[in-house]
Amino acid sequence: MNEPEKNYLSAGDTVKSWLLTTDHKRIGILYLLSILFFFVIAAFAAALMRLELLTPQGDLVLSETYNKLFTMHGVLMVWFFLIPSIPSVLGNFIIPLMIGARDVAFPKLNLLSWYLFIIGGFFVMHAIIIGGVDTGWTFYTPYSTAYSNSHVIEMALGIFIAGFGSILTGLNFIITIQKMRAPGLTWFRLPLFIWSMYSTSLILVLATPVLAITLALMAVERIWGVGIFNPKLGGDPILFQHLFWFYSHPAVYIMILPGMGVVSEIITCFSRKKIFGYHFVVFSSVAIAIIGFLVWGHHMFVSSQSIYAGMVFSFLSFLVAIPSAIKVFNWTMTLYRGSISFEAPMLYALSFIGLFVIGGLTGLMLASLAVDVHVHGTYFVVAHFHYIMVGGMVTAFMAGLHYWWPKITGRMYPEKLGQLAAVILFFGFNLTFFPQFVLGYLGMPRRVHDYAPEFQIYNVLSTAGASILAIGYLLPLTYFLWSLFYGKKAGPNPWRATGLEWKTSSPPPKNNFAETPVVTEDAYNYPPLNEIGEHENA
């Protein structure tokens, strides 16, 4: 292939060529820019909250403002950053390349997904600008339906619409993976990222509609003034929680499974080895997706659900830890007799494993009924899910972004700065969130804007950590932009990785491959290594 060949970026540079594109790669870029926008706003809300919590008194913002800040932070981060992060950005860009397809199965639907996402985001932003919402991202009834004086309906409408975007993305990925694989790419030759995205998509398609109907019921009840969650009529506010968590617990796996897929790609590439126990890693993804649907009640151990239901949900929640543990063990064993190098993606992947294991182990504590009774609704829970979502998913997203950045842009990011940012993020993250475990066990409730003075020291530590975290996020933003113009040309395969996405030029041509590739070997089939870790036939 000759050099200035038309790639997907140079195939048209009008605004229209972007806004009406059906190219999965361009749609991935559109998602990247839009989730970045939401991330910055949600991070700003977090920064204000951390500043407020420096002192025990509520002196920076009013309590009403604080409540709106954490609602906004939660809603934007969960639905407009984390859920679309790896699936919609990297998934869109990489899945067709990885399976040797020219595009996703339904490119127009793919564009529609993005528009639904943007329209939903518009409603949510509008609700925030005209005064915000103070229910928390969980919208618990009857507070949301009968007591809150904020723009609940508009916010719920935004999430409802964006939810359909998620569903269509999931549907598109399922069909693409089922029907569009290159010749020879059988199910058990698929890269693990594809398996994890397939499991994620199943959750997107089967759980998101339940969220949609739940929010719709909540909104109708708020408009109508009567409804089924209202205890005044004999309705049950706990039913809302069941329906909400039936979506929102599997949603946690939407936020972690893709991360696990990315880490599997990177661990193999930077240790130059086949993954240990491929089939077990595959089945653990599917097992997480299935068991993940059966554990929602662990959010409700103290909600007055029956103690026997609590026990069943507790046991299933312990079980869902097993497949995650299997993945961690397999990643560790993959390193054995590998040839390990420590470029930024690998540092992020290793930091993912560390933070995810801490998140998982504290998850076991939360699954333990008696301990949960104490720490439910405290900062312990806040710390736990940030370890999974930020320590896990955001770290994995950063890992994937660095790993595929050369493929996406054709340019290398500056390696030393990349490594520095990964280390800063790891320390900043732990300093921010580890003290919150201690706070939680001490009994500091979450969602409070002033607190008892004895909790102050940990809040100060946490805020200090958050400022380091902020630097850790600004740094990659800066050097990624820099690399677009001044980065070293990457070439098709800078990491010498296996996988079809590296077989085409960087950035890839509009139709991905000049010729449909044919697959003849398993995933991660790296050649044997010599004593000092070079491939023998290289």
Binding site: I175, V205, L206, V220, G225, L233
Partner: protein, 215 residues
């Protein structure tokens, strides 16, 4: 079997018409799975409250109009038949019959909505809308029944409207001779969707109109 030039109906990303058709069908089934869970939340709520307030649900369901409900069930079932006949006509390449059956389906779907409209009118007149004006002769918790009645039938009616929109496009395309035994995927998918809407009604009808009969 090498095709020199791809059929104009095959989109760029697909290898051939068969792959496209399989992908489209799987897509529709996946979409229906989503829809099942969308209605699933409502059905769950229905069964929970029916268990709590069975007595009030019986009283409530006696106030819904079985006559309208039965007429509408017959109308929708018939429309499923005409839809199936439209797809069958395409399969057998009776191209002129396709749009005839589709028009009939459209007509039946529309009459469903008209009947539903009359029924809603009667319900409002009978003060069956939960809230301040709810019929004082009924126990308070039967409002939960009617809340579900309005939400479930309302959501179903929205789906019928979407179905009518899809069907109008299909009729338009059929009249322009777009469908044949070779290319009929959109028609089959519209049919799948329409049967799904029909089946949802077949669950709603006994749950909302006939509760007292199996107590």
């Amino acid at each position: 079997m090498k095709m020199p030039e791809k059929n104009s109906n095959v989109a760029e990303q697909f290898e051939d018409a068969q792959q496209q058709s399989e992908a489209a069908h799987l897509g529709m089934w996946t979409f229906i799975a989503t829809e099942v869970l969308f209605f699933g939340g409502l059905f769950l709520a229905y069964f929970v409250y029916r268990h709590f307030y069975f007595h009030e649900f019986v009283i409530g369901s006696k106030r819904t109009d079985v006559l309208f409900g039965t007429i509408n069930s017959i109308i929708l079932l018939t429309s499923s038949l005409t839809m199936a006949l439209a797809v069958h006509a395409a399969k057998e390449n009776y191209r002129r019959q396709i749009s005839r059956w589709l028009l009939l389906t459209l007509l039946l779907g529309f009459s469903f909505l008209v009947v539903k409209g009359f029924e809603y009118h009667k319900d409002i007149h009978d003060q069956l809308v939960p809230g301040a004006n709810f019929n004082p002769a009924l126990p308070a918790q039967s409002q939960i029944f009617f809340w579900l009645y309005w939400t479930m039938t309302g959501l179903h009616a929205i789906h019928v409207c979407i179905g009518l929109g899809v069907m109008s496009v299909m009729t338009f395309l059929a009249r322009r001779g777009k469908f044949s035994a070779v290319y009929r995927t959109p028609l089959e998918l519209a049919g799948l969707y329409w049967h799904f809407v029909d089946i949802v009604w077949l669950f709603l009808f006994p749950l909302l109109y006939l509760v007292q009969r199996h107590s």
